[in-house]
């Protein structure tokens, strides 16, 4: 199964313009900052927002092509959509909610209900059968919504921030369930999320959407190791610099130079892990060639490690131990020296 999407939609300030090719071999996470157009992309594929330009093909059927006057409405696309808010039918029981799609497409009542009961069982909600949505917790409601989307055996499964509205206590369990169901489900799978942890646990592939455009896509490991935009870099917690490389030195776009171990030439990204940035009270002597005087501008903790933003000729995030924070008196925002070994800088062409 395959979705080939060329989507052009203008909605208020947002101009969505993407080319996307999804098949059934991988779970794809669509990530990006708020307002990037992630939800609009999902709605466009689902047929809830009309395309202005482009063409959408699902399994070799042209589903929408405004230039050719083709538009198959949402109900004709055989999709499953899980929305951020569960959107269950308030007047129907959990069982009737899950059976809804089957009933709507002509499955007889008894068999639709039997299938729905199996799905609720599989979601760990055998006792919820007769309950109304208002009687379910947030996590339970979202499980019912997932069962409702999967019960129609759609070709394409779209999940729009499925965990965002669920409270933290229920989220881990639901994420686990979601991961298992996504692994099992045989169609095209696209999960929208703004949470890096969620993306990393649920997906094999990442598509990064920023300001209506795809800025990066590829296997999870590649995108997280080699970010191609400041947003991705901050999401995965890397320092990202860009400049022009020549003879083992990169002249940065923002001014300054860094020495690297690479001999590439031309426009280059340079990614530096925060724990590769060393901080010192005095100017360090010896091997590192990349040394800058700066000022500890911001301090925060990630787990049991401290991160310090050092403002200087080059702005970097350094990761140090809490002991080092005390020793270097970083909390006071004083002067500090930052150094990075050339071999710790990962370079890749723009």
């Amino acid at each position: 199964m395959r979705v080939i999407a060329g989507l052009g939609v203008t909605l208020g300030d947002l101009a969505l313009d993407v080319e996307l090719d999804l098949d059934d071999t991988a779970v794809v996470a669509l990530v990006g900052p708020n307002g990037a157009g992630k939800t609009t992309l999902v709605r466009a594929v689902a047929g809830l927002v009309p395309l202005e330009r482009g063409r959408l093909t699902i399994n070799e059927t042209v589903v929408e092509d405004p230039a050719a006057g083709i538009r198959i409405p949402a109900e004709g696309r055989n999709l499953g959509v899980v929305f951020q808010e569960h959107r269950l039918f308030a007047n129907l029981s959990a069982l009737e909610n899950v059976a809804f799609g089957l009933r709507a497409t002509g499955t007889p009542k008894a068999s639709a209900r039997a299938t729905a009961a199996e799905w609720l069982e599989r979601m760990g909600l055998p006792d919820a059968v007769g309950l109304r949505p208002a009687q379910l917790s947030g996590g339970q409601a979202q499980r019912v919504a997932l069962a409702r989307a999967l019960a129609v055996e759609p070709d394409v499964l779209l999940l729009d921030e499925p965990l965002a509205a669920v409270d933290a206590a229920a989220r881990a369990d639901l994420r686990h369930l979601l991961k298992a169901e996504l692994r099992r489900y045989p169609g095209v799978r696209l999960v929208v999320t703004h949470d890096p942890v969620e993306a990393a646990t649920l997906a094999d592939q990442l598509v990064v959407l920023e300001d209506g455009r795809i800025t990066q896509k590829g296997p999870l490991a590649d995108v997280t190791a080699r970010p191609r935009s400041p947003w991705v870099a901050s999401m995965v917690g890397l320092n990202l610099l860009s400049g022009t490389a020549a003879d083992g030195v990169i002249t940065l776009d923002s001014g300054g130079v860094i020495a690297t171990a690479s001999h590439d030439r031309g426009p280059t990204f340079a990614a530096i892990r925060p724990n590769a940035v060393s901080l010192h009270r005095r100017e360090p002597e010896g091997s590192p060639r990349n040394v800058w005087a700066g000022k500890a501008a911001e301090l925060y903790f990630v787990g049991d490690r401290a991160r310090v933003r050092v403002d200087g000729p080059i702005r970097l995030i350094a990761e140090v131990t809490p002991a080092a924070v005390a020793e270097l008196q970083l909390a006071d925002g004083g002067p500090v020296w930052a150094s990075v070994k050339a071999t710790d800088i990962d370079t890749y062409p723009i």
């Binding site: 949402a74 109900e75 999709l79 959107r87 809804f100 709507a104 129609v152």
Partner: protein, 241 residues
């Protein structure tokens, strides 16, 4: 309050049932129920789709249609009756076409009563239904569409249940208004016992001709109905089931 006290104080409590079972009164009551339910049915058949159109579809002249639809709410009923006379009367443009096509006449018939009551009462249903269609959470309709539900299926299983309480309230208002209709009915359909003489018309006739007890008994019935509708709606508006 004072008129209500006056009505209750003079009500012929002891002979109430006898008064209402009297031939004339009973006929008028039965006619009122038939015509008001007919008007409610007609309002539902035409009013609910129209309300849906007004709430959900953009079309040229929508503002004008909405204004025309609500006009009967503020129009003096007698004016409505006269307007109906010129449209559906024997020499009215629509009345003549209808007669030529089907042989039906509406003036001075029970059908005419239903038409007059519908004219006056239908706006109450349209206004309530339109507000409900407009304000309901449409996100579940989208969810239903992604599940493969056709537009008709969505309307029946998602939209209607969501607006059902509002439709019920609108229907109650509409029915009560139709039941009490006087001005348009007497102007357009006349006052023929058994055919067009509804309860309010008979009550008026009785009080004019000195049959005070019958008039009071009929008024009491209409008052009770109004109160029941009001109490029913009040419960709904206060959110109790």
């Amino acid at each position: 309050m004072l008129p209500l006290i006056g009505l209750l104080q003079r009500a012929p409590w002891s002979s109430l049932v006898r008064q209402l079972r009297a031939d004339e009164a009973f006929t008028a009551l039965r006619l009122s129920i038939v015509t008001s339910l007919g008007a409610l049915g007609l309002s539902a058949v035409f009013g609910i789709p129209l309300a849906w159109m007004l709430a959900r579809r953009r079309f040229p002249g929508r503002a004008l249609v909405r204004a025309m639809v609500t006009l009967p709410m503020v129009l003096p009923p007698v004016v409505g009756g006269i307007a109906l006379l010129y449209a559906f009367g024997r020499n009215g443009f629509a009345g003549r076409v209808l007669y030529d096509l089907t042989g039906w006449r509406l003036v001075f018939t029970t059908g005419g009563v239903i038409l007059a009551e519908t004219f006056v009462a239908m706006p109450f249903l349209i206004v309530t239904a339109e507000a409900a269609f407009r304000s309901m959470d449409r996100r579940t309709e989208e969810a239903a569409a992604t599940l493969g539900a056709s537009a008709a299926y969505r309307f029946r299983r998602v939209t209607l249940p969501a607006v059902a309480p509002a439709l019920a309230a609108g229907a109650a208002l509409t029915w009560a208004r139709a039941l009490g209709e006087f001005g348009a009915t007497i102007t357009f359909a006349g006052n023929l016992p058994g055919v067009t003489q509804t309860t309010p018309l008979l009550a008026y006739l009785d009080i004019e001709s000195g049959h005070e007890t019958t008039a009071l008994a009929l008024s009491l019935v209409l008052l009770m109905v109004s109160l029941l509708v009001l109490v029913g709606l009040r419960d709904r508006w206060l959110g109790s089931p």
